[in-house]
Symmetry: C2
Subunit: 341 residues, 2 copies
């Protein structure tokens, strides 16, 4: 193509790659017309090879199907696109080995940066291997960003899981509830631990002890099970689930037993899922998309940023699944119409 333009490869490269080089308008025009004529487009691959810098951005998530992750990915992708980067999404299914494999592939493609969404596990046996792979990444010049908390050193951005759960607990206590049950997250996950700590500490500060702590898995089924158990046994004043999906499960399960929320007990979740809004579930909303955006900004930023992680604010959204304890409310009114649910 440089040939049909009648110039040398170098000049052609200079105009095509928009390098801040001085090129006369005349030759520039010649090249441009040649480009148009040949329908030419430069090979990003070759460029990356020569530059040692690709414009590929890796984002490793647990499962893109999970609304949290897809929202994060969307945020990342938005700024990636704005900067001419392509986003590679990697589903790890929370499995260390596939996560590792992906990291290696991203390294082989000289990804400009990789963003680890999804928290780390605290019981990870492959941590050493991962840490090694991450180091390799950095050695090759790719930036690594982590949505904290993560089990390897990396600058990052995140949310305050502990504080969020604490806020929720305080909300429940403020409503007069004392016998508060908690549904834990998957064992070994850092976020599980943090949220649990937020719950326990807040209760302790109020001189309370948990009514019960049920195991959970950040999913719908966990909620159903808990609902069945408390329905057959003693009802707490409130149940705080460490995940919206679980809280929705509680709501559904309770309803099958004819136990009305919030009349008989309050229910709250965490995350800010669409379903939460739909069912009137009290929750804390996490700014997932912003999280992705900030992470991508960090990833693409030229200047080195300080090691202190950015912490984005969450928001407590009180809805009709939580209400003051021991209140006699009317069962009429627009917010309490019987639906098909």
């Amino acid at each position: 193509m440089a040939r049909v333009a009648g110039v040398s490869l170098a000049t052609a490269s200079r105009v095509v790659s928009k390098s801040s080089y001085r090129v006369s308008d005349a030759t520039r025009r010649k090249v441009e017309s040649a480009v148009a004529e040949l329908d030419y487009s430069p090979s990003a691959l070759a460029r990356a090879l020569a530059t040692r810098r690709s414009r590929l951005l890796g984002i490793v998530v647990g499962d893109i199907t999970d609304p949290y992750f897809s929202e994060i990915a969307r945020g990342v992708e938005d700024v990636a696109r704005a900067n001419g980067y392509l986003s590679i999404v990697c589903n790890t299914d929370r499995t260390a080995s596939t996560e590792l494999r992906y990291v290696e592939m991203l390294r082989d493609y000289h990804a400009a940066a990789v963003i680890f969404a999804g928290g780390g596990r605290e019981d990870d046996r492959d941590r050493a291997a991962l840490e090694h792979a991450v180091r390799q990444l950095e050695d090759r010049g790719t930036r690594v960003i982590a949505l904290i908390p993560r089990d390897f050193p990396a600058l990052g951005v995140g949310i305050d899981n502990r504080a969020a759960c604490a806020d929720l607990a305080r909300h429940l206590i403020a409503l007069g509830h004392r016998r508060i049950a908690y549904i834990d997250g998957p064992p070994g996950l850092t976020t599980s631990r943090l949220r649990m700590e937020g719950f326990r500490d807040t209760l302790a500060a109020a001189g309370l002890t948990p009514f019960a702590v049920f195991p959970g898995n950040y999913d719908y089924e966990s909620g159903l099970e808990v609902a069945a158990r408390i329905a057959r046994d003693v009802l707490p004043d409130a149940v705080l689930a460490s995940h919206d999906a679980t809280a929705v499960g509680v709501l559904t399960g309770l309803q099958e037993f004819g136990i009305r929320v919030p009349d008989r007990l309050s229910v709250a979740g965490m995350g800010g899922l669409r379903e939460a809004g739909l069912l009137g579930l009290t929750t804390v909303q996490f700014p997932m998309r912003r999280l992705g955006i900030e992470a991508a900004r960090l990833a693409l930023a030229e200047g080195e940023t300080g090691p202190e992680p950015i912490v984005l604010p969450h928001e407590l959204i009180a809805r009709r699944s939580t209400a003051p304890r021991l209140t006699t409310r009317q069962t009429a009114g627009p917010t309490d119409v019987e639906g098909i649910l």
Copy 2:
């Protein structure tokens, strides 16, 4: 690295790239130990440049945040990973220009294949440009797969939008409903047209005419609006929404007006969203993940496949949002407990 192995670059390449070449076990071992020692890994970029074939798979979606798309992406990614490919997801926001831009980037990276999820627009002014870009892709040897219907020629896989909507209409008619309203999808979308046709044709075949056809946008808000309109006016026997999100909007809106579903009227949606199950919404479930899987298989398949598109089956899931017309049902029973909704 070939140096420390004590062999030539060629032999090293032969073992690293697993080429079906004859290499003696002795030298192979030498190379392998050198690889391990140096923590060496081949550059996928250089390989792609030399081979003229990358292991990058592009998947262009409307919005990864949309459960349909994320499910498709997941399916694609699953088979991509199994074959050692990386998946690049591109959010077009249903905008032709950004879709075009992405296609160009994917071409520059010599993507092995690109899968177009998300249907085409019928009013697309940039169709020519897109078609051109797609042709360029194919010229460079990248396969292009489309989740039909699409506005440019490509082999593909899809679902039968028309039949799905027809099934729903038949279901409603079989329940005895005659005055059936429809909520359309976004104008200009091929899927909108197809679904609408399925609805109209089925009604016509039964000697019925639509009670009303409301404009919609495949979203929640459209449903709310329709609910408000029919609540203040005459209630149809049933409303069929072209999208689950819209149907959920109808449900929510109706309930705010104290209109009980399915007592007063039936409601159905399309898609198979999680929320549909949660709220007991009758719908057709589309096998989105399978769609992605099949698309990826096509994309990665070596042999040429026939031009006839694969059509995956959908499934009508009748739930409690639809019921026979003019039936007096008791308002008790476990499926009809008043919830917080």
